[in-house]
Amino acid sequence: MSILELCSIVFLVVGAIFFLAGTIGLLRFPDVYTRLHALAKVDNLGLGFTSIGLVFQAPELVIALKIILIWLLALVASSTLSFLIARRAMKRGIIPWRAKEHTI
């Protein structure tokens, strides 16, 4: 097993752990805003680690660059989308959950 494959495996596994954490956060967090935190950020880190892990396996340079491009596009997409959803939810008057007032 070469060093590249080892790097690839490490990155892929770390990415999968981040995906798992994002899902757990989505299941447990109390309101829309905190769920957006779990989904937009932790899942994005998972995607980042997965794509870096796949870059180590890439047969050509162009394909590695294309994977990086897809990752950047997904980053921009999720940041814009989470801003839009959060702003619309705020305008609709969905009140953010406060730790001081409630318990899980």
Binding site: G25, K66, L69
Partner: protein
């Protein structure tokens, strides 16, 4: 005039590189590529007129390194918060007056804060930026200010006095 020419050159180089990556280095569809690149160039001039900022590559590199470091740190913190048996959430909404001038700089600031774990920009008005944070005990203010400085360095903009 010179700067306009230079902007055109840089942007067309960027779009050509993106197109080259998209078609995976093949050479047989250059005609479609030429049309797409020129359309993208026209669209970029409509959406983002030149001469508003000057892009700095060293500033971009600094911003990138800072951004990835911070996002890794925050991601681990949020992931720990999700996995822990008793999630210790202290969400709150902060209001911050951005020092960056309106336009591209503020848009980049909003999107960066959206990607950084722990902060979520909820609304952006002319005078202030509303941020929903997951843990109100950490120092959000200094973090946002240092991101602002990095962005201002990257685009060579001037920060307003707060």
């Amino acid at each position: 005039m010179i700067s306009l020419l230079r902007t055109t050159l840089y942007r067309s180089m960027f779009f050509t590189a993106v197109w080259w990556i998209l078609i995976e280095g093949k050479t047989d569809s250059w005609f479609v590529g030429l049309i797409s690149i020129s359309l993208a160039l026209v669209t970029s001039f409509i959406l983002l007129p030149p001469n508003q900022f000057r892009f700095s590559f060293t500033g971009f590199a600094h911003f990138l390194i800072y951004f990835f470091g911070l996002s890794l740190k925050g991601g681990i913190a949020v992931a720990c918060m999700a996995i822990r048996p008793n999630p210790d959430l202290h969400p709150n909404i902060f209001t911050i007056t951005p020092r960056l001038p309106e336009g591209l700089g503020r848009a980049i600031l909003t999107n960066t804060l959206n990607l950084l774990p722990g902060t979520l920009s909820v609304d952006l008005t002319l005078s202030s930026l509303y941020i929903h944070v997951l843990d109100e005990r950490q120092s959000i203010e200094t973090e946002v200010r240092s991101i602002e400085e990095k962005i201002a360095h990257m685009l060579r903009l001037e920060l307003k006095k707060s």
